[in-house]
């Protein structure tokens, strides 16, 4: 998404969904994963007569509340959306003005859409042609429409194409930058958006600054740490700019060199140690590989409030450490919600027994490893003080430094004020009143300055920038292939000095673009560009001029740096339609993909997978469980609701294999792994696929690991891990695992 228009986050908000006239959901299950937030969907349905359209391989609880339901074959969202676009373009339902002014490259999409007539889409997706027409007609003609997605769309080998296809659909309909529209990606875990914004990822510095020298230097300066010292932390300087391993493939870093394992590019060494902090490592794909890797490590440390089941599946006896971390109730600080807004949390109880809050664990580690001073320097630098105050100084440090997503306004003081006055905001628009007038709840980023209101609806040019409006980000240059990438004339946010498209603001173009004059003092202090402007002058001046510091450009439907410039359909690596694999093969194998040689076409064509593994494997969540489930399965009432790992299977499919309802069954994966689960007859899946929930651990290929838990720490419910049988497959750009579109074979026990 970031490659389409600049930011890769939910563009509107949950409350804003109440403004929608049509809601289409691809691969998301908000009734289960956002039960309270689902109120907004229901209210849209009730009050706004908004129809809910669900496109999902199984009939979820969300689908039960939907008006239209398409039971799509996993991994065929792109053909579905092309089918929709084809109908939209043919009927002229697209927003021509919007496309003209604010989108680049739609012509290529229009051309590709012609390759997807409705019958072909029906064949590939498994959805009835009439239903696709019905859905498209309704969605296109009831605007504003909002498009919701989650893991069902992203966890594929071409997930990064999926997540561009959806924005393209919304752009075609002119549903972007309007209340009730937008691309509303539902983030899952508590503060996962915050973690993403701080880039707990291996390919960028916090705030999406990337790993270029310029970014490193900016951070060194902002943290008050010597740039050369930072550079010296790497084995050789060029490694400073190289992406690291991902969560989904770290184990390759350990196992590389073993027969059959993908090669790695890690400067001639394997990974030796692993420190897991608040991560359900058993919930990453290829559980058996994770186990193998854990066994082969020199050091494994697990830091969690409950025993991380990574410590259970490994056979490693020595040098395995479990550190008790406190929960979110035992610490204070800000958290970021799925709609980019921050909320302040206050400590409810001090960390219990020997538990320590996460930050204290990190500080203690830093002290012993010798970089505590450097780590904490950033919190003291602004006021040049000796002691830092946690968490306020950390929050203010983030606000001071992160300008890319406009966190400047997220001072601890403002966030705490919102916490104290959280009843003074409107449920739908987030607008504050009374004491909170002029602010949106949680100051959704970008919040350009310390007095900015926050931006609840991204890319909305019907509002002034001061009030949260903006155009698309100028992130991809000024022109491409001779076409202007800046927004069309007259399509600037309301009240802007510059009524047309304009580039991102830097030291050199600010006076010209904003039509202002800087003083000499300002000129001496101003930063190189808006992202590294420590003085904040650029942002302040932009606010006065009613302009967004990041420019006003066109969103691009064509990403010329990607393997597929416009999204193209590629079958999942393990597809039940061998005939379509020939027509729509996967990508070429990618070398050095986050340091791991990752297989695509070689895996897909290794054998006719559909022959021995004819059943689609669909994974998903349960409402009473969370992630790897170690916390919930240790809660007796939650465990009682689903005490065992199970598999939803259609009675007809079960009948073919002689599996009774409630009987144990085996699920075999193409990787040669298997799990033993209880069958559960359900009509929510069609007879060509089965569903397994992802939250269980503690049993591995039929063997119980209950004896391996330290005394008194075993959860009430254990079960097989779904990821023991999810297939090998990783997205071409992000390396997210293809857990939503695999194959399996089943057998009765």
């Amino acid at each position: 998404m970031a490659n389409t228009w600049g930011y890769g986050a939910m563009t509107n908000s949950l409350g804003d969904i109440q403004n929608s006239k049509a809601i289409i959901i691809f691969g998301a299950n908000p009734a289960v994963n956002h039960p309270v937030g689902f109120q907004h969907f229901l209210k849209a349905k009730e009050r706004n007569n908004a129809k809910i359209i669900v496109v999902d391989p199984r009939f979820t609880k969300t689908a039960a509340k939907a008006d239209y339901y398409a039971q799509i074959r996993p991994g065929t969202d792109i053909p579905f959306m092309y089918g929709m676009l084809n109908i939209i373009f043919e009927n002229g339902w697209h927003d021509k003005g919007f496309i003209n002014d604010r989108v680049y490259g739609m012509e290529d999409v229009m051309k590709e859409a012609k390759n997807w007539p409705i019958e072909r889409v029906a064949d590939v997706t498994g959805v009835d042609a009439d239903l696709i027409v019905q859905i498209t007609k309704h969605y296109a003609q009831h605007t504003p429409g909002t498009l919701i997605w989650a893991m069902g769309l992203t966890q594929h080998s071409n997930g990064s194409s999926n997540t561009r296809m959806a924005p393209i659909l919304q752009l075609a309909l002119g549903n972007m930058g309007v209340e009730g529209g937008g691309c509303n990606i539902l983030r899952g875990h508590d503060n996962v958006q915050g973690a993403t914004d701080m880039c707990c990822l291996s390919h960028t510095l916090p705030g999406y600054y990337g790993l270029s020298d310029g970014s490193w230097k900016y951070f060194a300066k902002s943290w008050g740490v010597d740039y050369e010292w930072l550079k010296g932390r790497f084995k050789t300087p060029e490694w400073m700019n190289k992406k690291g391993f991902t969560l989904s493939r770290w184990w390759s870093g350990v196992l590389a060199g073993n027969p059959g394992e993908d090669a790695i590019h890690n400067n001639g060494t394997n990974l030796k140690a692993l420190f897991v902090m608040g991560n359900g490592i058993t919930s990453t794909a290829q559980t058996k590989k994770v186990k193998e890797a854990l066994d082969a490590l020199d050091l494994a440390v697990f830091c969690d409030p409950f025993v991380n089941e990574g410590a259970i599946i490994t056979d490693k006896q020595d040098d395995v450490y479990i550190l008790p971390a406190g929960t979110q109730f035992e610490t204070s600080g800000s958290v970021t919600a799925t709609n980019r807004s921050a909320q302040w949390r206050t400590e409810v109880v001090k960390p219990m027994y020997e538990s320590k809050a996460d930050q204290d664990i990190m500080f203690e580690l830093a002290k012993r490893l010798g970089f505590y001073d450097e780590l904490t320097a950033g919190m003291k630098i602004r006021e040049d003080k000796k002691e830092y105050k946690w968490p306020e100084d950390a929050t203010d440090e983030i606000a001071r430094i992160i300008k890319t997503i406009g966190l400047t306004g997220w001072t601890a003081k403002r966030l705490k004020e919102h916490q104290e006055n959280w009843h003074m905001f409107d449920e739908v628009s987030g607008r504050g009143y009374g004491k909170m007038t002029g602010e949106y709840y949680g100051l959704p980023w970008p919040c350009w300055t310390e007095s900015h209101s926050g931006s609840p609806v991204l890319y909305n040019i019907n509002r002034s920038v001061k009030d949260g409006g903006m155009g698309f980000r100028n992130r991809f240059g000024l022109e491409h292939d001779g076409q202007d990438l800046l927004a069309g004339a007259g399509s600037a946010p309301k009240g802007s000095n510059n009524k047309d498209g304009y580039p991102e603001i830097n030291r050199d173009n600010i006076e010209e673009v904003l039509k202002i004059k800087l003083t000499a003092d300002e000129k001496s202090r101003i930063g190189k560009n808006w992202k590294v402007d420590t003085s904040n002058i650029i942002a302040e001046k932009c606010m006065e001029a009613g302009m967004a510091p990041y420019g006003n450009a066109k969103a691009r439907a064509k990403v010329w740096t990607f393997a597929d410039q416009i999204p193209l359909h590629r079958e999942p690596l393990h597809s039940p339609r061998t005939d379509l694999v020939k027509e729509h093969p996967s990508f070429a194998d990618k070398k050095n993909h986050y340091r791991v040689d990752t297989r695509y076409i070689s895996e897909q064509t290794k054998q006719d997978w559909a022959k021995d593994f004819p059943i689609n494997l669909v994974t998903g969540r349960l409402v009473n469980m969370n992630g790897a489930g170690m916390e919930n399965r240790a809660s007796k009432y939650l465990a009682k609701l689903t005490p065992e790992m199970f598999c939803d299977i259609h009675p007809d499919l079960a009948g073919r294999y002689g599996i009774r309802d409630g009987e144990m069954m085996w699920i075999h994966s193409p990787q040669g792994t298997k799990i033993k689960v209880k069958s559960h007859y359900s009509y929510s899946v069609s007879p060509d696929r089965v569903f397994i929930p992802i939250h269980f651990a503690g049993v591995l290929e039929g063997e119980s690991l209950l004896h391996k838990y330290p005394d008194g720490t075993a959860p009430y419910a254990i079960g097989e891990s779904a990821n023991t049988v999810t297939n090998y497959g990783y997205d071409i750009v992000t390396q997210i695992p293809e857990t939503k579109g695999g194959l399996c074979q089943i057998a009765r026990v």
Binding site: Q18, R47, N48, N49, F59, H423, D426, N624, S682
Partner: protein, 204 residues
Amino acid sequence: MSNNNVDYARMKFYCDEQRCIHCDGCSVACAEAHELPVEISRRKVVTVNEGKQGMEFSLSVACMHCTDAPCEEVCPVDCFYIRDDGIVLHDKDKCIGCSYCLYACPFGAPQFPSDGAFGTKGVMDKCTMCAGGPEETNSHKERELYGQNRIAEGKVPVCAAMCSTKALLVGDAESVSNVYRERVLSSGHGVQSAPYGWDKAYGK
């Protein structure tokens, strides 16, 4: 049915099947708040016609606190009592655990732990609408036997308080029907300016 007794409310539950998403928040909240044994389900959520398009729906059920409660009728030791506001409660010290109330109940509200020798039933436990029992209000004994007494503190029963989508409503029958009526009548009338009741809470 309107309440002819002007002095008291008539407390009722209502579960809106258009909104219930089977999140089980109500059943878990109840179990947590009253620290129930795991085998007891004072409140449970059931999905009907699972997986069938156009037919699937979910409902949360517990004691309905009937006006003509059959449980109260059949109890051989007369351990039930019905409050003026309609909440049906019982006395666990009197109860002999014969489970006749369960047989008579149309909704299966009475629950029995199998904690006696040879698996024989213990005394009956059921939803109290968070109104405790005959013991002294908010005493330790009441808490141990019946769970929280939230009604005495002016709080909403915990199941409805926790309902994710506000499918489960509880309160005076008239208030509940007003909320639901508002919900139905406002259908198609566009985005609300403030959530129901916020004008009373925050003087907006």
